[in-house]
Symmetry: C2
Subunit: 369 residues, 2 copies
């Protein structure tokens, strides 16, 4: 495959947006329209269920003035953003496109929160949904098991959220830009025991966009990996199915092999922390730390993990998240991250999960210069 | 780009299916699983709105026993099938995948017909939906205008449906396998004046699957083209916006240029005839006949246009249609179409439309031998 480069990246400020889904996408993508774009790929999880109508890709493309070229939507639940990016890399890599605009977008806050959570939960296995499972209740199972197995205290788990908010406070695009204390996390509303509100990524409106090109640019796609597993936790064959996502391990190994990197080559990480506990299991699934040691690893390395606040503090507009992670890496690798810059960052890894571990995408980016 | 080949193709018998969306996809794809598949791409329009749950790609992949590899869904409304195929071509063409399984699937008959039509209509522009537009009412505008402009009689338009049923009667996979008379079409229930029930493709369950590979196979992808336009008819800039789809013309020209073919090189056509009138405007948008002459062209060439019955008689399971068109071409180009075989067919063109002309994909296939 020929090399594929990221030329530009942008995102909206995450939070409560105003206006249509096209307007959100427009705000993210419009600054990237300088090149002659010959394809638009939209990552979106559930526009129809959010009442935003169908044919999202065509509507986003036309709103940007990009008629007459192919436009399509890619969906892989909460990994729709990374999946759209990967499809864009295929398009440029194959030579079938020269400049591809990848846009991740989701509008969620205009419906009642209970409805928004229902829409997101629709990605779970139908048999688990039928008995009332939600992403929060499944994450709670992970948390309870992890705490018991590894002796992790509830207080230490709260620190994961504290660190995420610390990072969010340094990111002008983040939804949550205020630090929180461990006590604040511990005293927030219970959502699914032992998890509390501040353990969970919020409901968010947002869009993120990246311009991919075959022409040399500041950041190069170094490797991609992705894997799929049964949506139902109990249908998974891996023995770690109740405290991790086997797909993450497979995707990371594939991506690292694709790039020819080892884990120690990576300077900056984006990890899919939809819940605090998933930051820890994600670190272990990525094989950055041994089982039970993720909390120590995260504490030590937290200035280069989820530098933009992660899903937890940046916000988690489902289909936009995977692209927003890559926007954060792009800024880090081009030395544009201001007070949250990882000094000398040259290689980044992003990890985006779909469903509750039914699919994972790992994307590796490298500074060209 | 390296060459991409079709190795195998299969589809379910279209109509009223039994079982889940995974079961439908399984029936189409299972016979294709002999190679080592390294990616699954699912074309699906609206599983969530049809109540079939989310994360369709992961569920389809796992049901087929294909865990551990990337799986994603591509959506472009009623062109989701062709869009998924195009994404598969990118994946193989880029060298990022060797054997890609493309599955188009939609389950529609398990909900009341009015609900199914509502789901399909969700692909229209929100402003047109808000005033009650449906695909049928927009097609009726096309039909009325076309009949007036070109002096096409209602009886002649009925012949389009008659010919589609004639073809369906020769296709064991078609939903409608009985010939109908002009009188039967004329006397069927009005749906949107001047269109009647028999002018419209039915609500259908179905799946179709194709195995793509970089290794040489019996049919080669010769060219692809796609284009996007405003979902709203009135927002389109082309003067033919009320009697054709400008995207079809753009997509066809792009695909033919990509392949280095002229129209006369094509032996067999699949045209997106969701309504009888769209067969005629499609022929003109593909520039096979001059304005007003499509009915004569179709009458003369009908043994090599929509040989499987088209959307009208084969059935139209939204996200499966674009793949089913390519299954029909694969069978024609490998001389396996039995009593509907176009003698010596070597080159085929498929035309798949998303929304009411918001997007079009044109795919060109060629026999390798």
């Amino acid at each position: 495959m020929r090399d594929v480069f990221l030329h530009a990246a942008n995102m909206t400020t995450f939070g409560r947006g105003a206006g249509s889904i096209e307007a959100l996408a427009h705000d993210a993508a419009d600054p990237l329209l300088e090149s002659e774009i010959d394809r638009v790929i939209v990552g979106n999880h559930a526009a129809e269920l959010f009442g935003d109508g169908g044919q999202v890709a065509a509507r986003v493309a036309c709103d940007l003035g990009l008629r007459g070229i192919p436009a399509l939507r890619v969906e892989a639940a909460t990994a729709s953003g990374a999946a759209a990016f990967a499809a864009g890399v295929d398009a440029v890599g194959s030579g079938r496109a020269e400049n591809v605009l990848v846009v991740g977008v989701e509008r969620m806050t205009h419906v009642p929160t209970t409805r928004a959570l229902d829409v997101v939960a629709s990605m779970l296995a139908p048999d688990e949904r039928a008995v009332g499972a939600t992403p929060a209740s499944l994450a709670a199972i992970f948390a309870a098991r992890y705490m018991k197995t590894h002796g992790l205290t509830r207080e230490r788990l709260a620190d994961v959220a504290v660190w995420a908010h610390d990072a969010g406070a340094r990111n002008p695009h983040a939804q949550f830009r205020k630090p929180v204390t461990r006590e604040r996390v511990m005293l927030s509303s219970p959502i699914s025991d032992p998890l509390r509100l501040f353990d969970a990524a919020p409901v968010t409106d947002g869009a993120a966009a990246i311009l991919l090109s075959a022409a040399a640019g500041p950041v190069r796609v170094a490797g991609l990996g992705a894997a799929t597993d049964a949506p139902s936790l109990l249908a998974r064959t891996d023995t770690r199915r109740l405290d991790g996502f086997p797909v993450t391990r497979l995707a990371a190994r594939a991506a690292l092999a694709n790039a020819g990197w080892s884990r120690s080559d990576v300077d900056v990480f984006e990890i899919h922390d939809a819940f605090s506990i998933l930051a820890l299991t994600g670190i272990e699934d990525l094989e950055l730390a041994l089982p039970g040691k993720a909390i120590d690893y995260l504490e030590q390395e937290r200035t280069r993990i989820n530098t933009g606040g992660g899903l937890k503090a940046r916000g988690h507009p489902s289909g936009a998240t995977g692209v927003a992670q890559l926007v954060e890496l792009f800024e880090q690798l081009t030395d544009k991250s201001g007070i949250r810059q990882v000094p000398g960052a040259r290689r980044g890894l992003a990890h985006n999960v779909g469903g509750f571990g039914a699919t994972a995408f790992v994307t590796l980016l490298e500074a060209s210069a």
